[in-house]
Symmetry: C2
Subunit: 84 residues, 2 copies
């Protein structure tokens, strides 16, 4: 759960997930949505990947990112039991 919480602890990364909720996007399309340089967005995507919150697939010159929410299940159930 550590890596997931770490990945979620950043507004930009949470907004990236919100974007990917709508549809898969290339790294460049994601970067265009923010006032941050591409290398910085690439770094954010790497952290999201490490947490398995996104998956990526290379297609030609592009890298397409997709949302993966299955890793949220543990956090969700932890929070639910915390609420009891």
């Amino acid at each position: 759960m550590n890596k997931v919480f770490k990945a979620l602890n950043d507004t930009t990364r949470r907004e990236i997930l919100d974007l990917l909720k709508e549809k898969d996007l290339t790294a460049g399309e994601i970067a265009e949505a923010f006032n941050i340089t591409k290398p910085s967005i690439s770094h954010h995507l790497d952290i999201l990947s490490q947490a398995d919150l996104v998956t990526s697939e290379k297609r030609g010159q592009f890298v397409i990112y997709s949302l993966n929410t299955t890793v949220l299940d543990d956090i969700l159930s932890w929070m639910m039991t915390l609420r009891k």
Copy 2:
């Protein structure tokens, strides 16, 4: 949501919440559960308080901490819509 995610992004703090799920505890009782100095635990409790994940009440020399899970609601619903 920022402060809550920040507060949750630490194993010690999440374990403090787990402890408080069982029953209210004084700062000292919480500190005893960890191999960390009391000032450090106090700092963690401060971060949890700022996020409103715990409330505290002074009773004599003691400060009693309680869990407050209502601030998790926003996060929970955000995660649920992310899963769609």
